[in-house]
Amino acid sequence: MARKELLHVLRDPTTLFVALFIPVLQLVLLGYAIDTNVRHIRTAVLDEARTQESRALVRSFENTGDFDVAVLAADEEELHRALVSGRARVGIRIPEDWSRRLLSGDPAPFLLLVDGSESAVAGQALGTANAVALRESLARLLGDRPLPVEVRPRVLFNPDTRSANFFVPGLMVVLTQIMAVMLTATSVVREKEQGTLEQLAMTPARPGEIVAGKAIPYLFLAVGEFCAIAAIMVGVFRVPIHGSFGTLLLVALPFVTAMLAVGLLVSTLAATREGAMQMAMGTVIPSIFLSGYVFPLDSMPAPFRALGYCLPTTWLIDASRGVILRGAGWAELWPNAAVLSGMAALVLLLAALRFPRSAA
């Protein structure tokens, strides 16, 4: 059974394509394209003061690297237009009396307009702008004296805060999931469509044997893919693995099992391959959004966070980042493995209960 299934995979170019090429493509696209670190925000400046100090302020914005002055506005209307049209995400307006107030020691406010339509950009702009203002203020108050309180930041585990380091370990998990669910579901549904499942039902082979025969090659494929993505991650994206990859594989095994079972479950519900594909994608989407793969779980409302913790993906992504970035070992990760094993058992049980009935 397992050998035959392997032959199927080799004979079916579509499956091979889905199995091998698409994950690699996604990996490259997502790995290279996504950068959550916001840099070079296009900025429009309306400098009504036109003094040495106001120019210094604009320069100190530019020096952060977060702001690029893209528009020099002549009046208020032009500043607005720049923001509305999207040519600039941030507008800085320095009033005419700014330098005078600054030099005389009065509070010297300037206006910062932020386009809130992209929350990541807006957040970054606000944070940096506040930091710039604070630094200018302190410099004025303290002169050459050292700062009374100083942050000495050290970012652990991902010192350059590179996005690839954050994404690729999660991506590995999501891609393995897509592959495992999709391949299993379509492979069983294909047998349904071809009527071969009915033929098999007429043989002495038990449903359990049929399922095991189907699942084993895909288990190897999925684990193989997991390893391949890890290799690409280290080789192409230069994300070092700090922990033991063996440990990660050990945690991944129940995850892959759970995903194969999800695939089986989908196959009991879908009548056609297209339906199975769609349903499989349906199970993948919440995993992408609620697993902490893209958006941090900690910032989600409690019910969604709870939902996120019900997804196997969440636990493996956590483990994957743990091993790859933080060098976590079995001591830290055994709860993940335990939870995943529990989930795998549960889904397998569900699939096993549904499978014989849908075959008959």
Partner: protein, 313 residues
């Protein structure tokens, strides 16, 4: 000797729908039994129930002496099954499909090779063994499916519409194969829609809306009293334009049924009705015998009338 297959009052229900309603039949060893009936009448369901794939709601069934309800896996080990649509793996070669099923039936490597060679020779598949099953023509597909169903030397083979959609030459060859199997003592349980195939069976069963309406040899079924009721006779009319003839006699008093067969028209008419009453040239009218199709149509009509009477008390 126990019959190869036996069912008494076998009933299968899916929810409130009764798919097979108290079917009883018995098939002797080495017999070619044909099960006929319209689509959706319960033929496939009955086969599945006999193999223990769907549970019997009532009644009992046994195949080769094993109870379908208690020992379905024993039954499946000793039967072959070939389904109405081609259900092998199109992306595997003919040989690989056979290897796979040999594995599923638990044949050892030596036995698998031996059986494969025997069956390739029997069905004449040799030159196509390395061709992908999906690329075979309809007739070869069916021969391959038959070979796969025979790998484990089953003593009874279920063939669910084995010749649906294949050309007449291939159809005849498949039947020749079936008769060779039957001569070797293998019991064949065949469903079909083809009346000429029905005539080739040793015995027939006719199932309609889940009920087994008739059982017997083809000649017995043609001679059933309900087929040509007392006071009626069957006639054959030759004519240039059969469809014009049909239009002209349909609906006339005394005409029970009329249908076209190629260049001629066949009708069931009341005894007293002569060619003149139908506006026909007497020299063209010949008496005719009922065929199997006539038998089944009469049986279906009678059952429909019975059901209608039941519904309207």
């Amino acid at each position: 000797m126990t019959p190869a297959l036996e069912a008494r009052g076998a009933t299968v229900r899916f929810g409130r729908f009764t798919a097979v309603d108290g079917a009883s039949l018995s098939v002797g060893r080495g017999e070619v039994f044909g099960l006929l009936g319209p689509n959706g009448s319960g033929k496939t369901t009955l086969i599945r129930a006999l193999c223990g794939l769907v549970p019997l709601a009532a009644g009992e069934a046994s195949v080769l002496g094993e109870d379908a309800r208690r020992r379905p896996e024993r039954i499946r080990q000793s039967i072959g099954y070939m389904s109405q649509k081609f259900s092998l793996y199109p992306d595997l070669t003919a040989g690989e499909n056979m290897e796979f099923y040999a594995g599923i039936y638990g044949l050892g490597p030596a036995e698998a090779r031996e059986r494969r060679e025997e069956l390739e020779a029997l069905v004449g598949l040799g030159p196509y063994a390395d061709r992908r099953a999906g690329r075979l023509s309809g007739g070869w597909k069916q021969r391959l499916a038959l070979a796969c169903a025979l790998l484990h030397r089953p003593r009874l083979v279920f063939l669910d519409e084995p010749t649906a959609g294949i050309d007449p030459v291939a159809r005849r060859e498949v039947w020749n194969l079936l008769f060779r199997l039957s001569a070797d003592g293998i019991t064949l349980f065949v469903t079909t829609h083809y009346m000429d195939e029905a005539e080739r069976c040793d015995r027939l069963g006719y199932i309609y809306m889940g009920r087994m309406l008739a059982l017997g040899r083809p000649a017995d079924l043609r001679a059933l009293p309900g087929v040509t009721p007392p006071g009626t006779r069957r006639i054959k009319v030759k004519g240039e334009d059969a469809s014009a003839l049909l239009a002209s006699i349909r609906g006339r008093p005394g005409v029970r049924e009329a249908t076209i067969y190629g260049q001629s028209l066949r009708a069931l008419v009341d005894e007293g009705v002569g060619p003149a009453d139908l506006g026909l040239d007497p020299s063209r009218v010949r008496p005719a015998e009922a065929d199997i199709e006539d038998a089944f149509i009469s049986l279906s009509r009678a059952e429909e009338a019975r059901r209608a009477a039941e519904r309207a008390p």
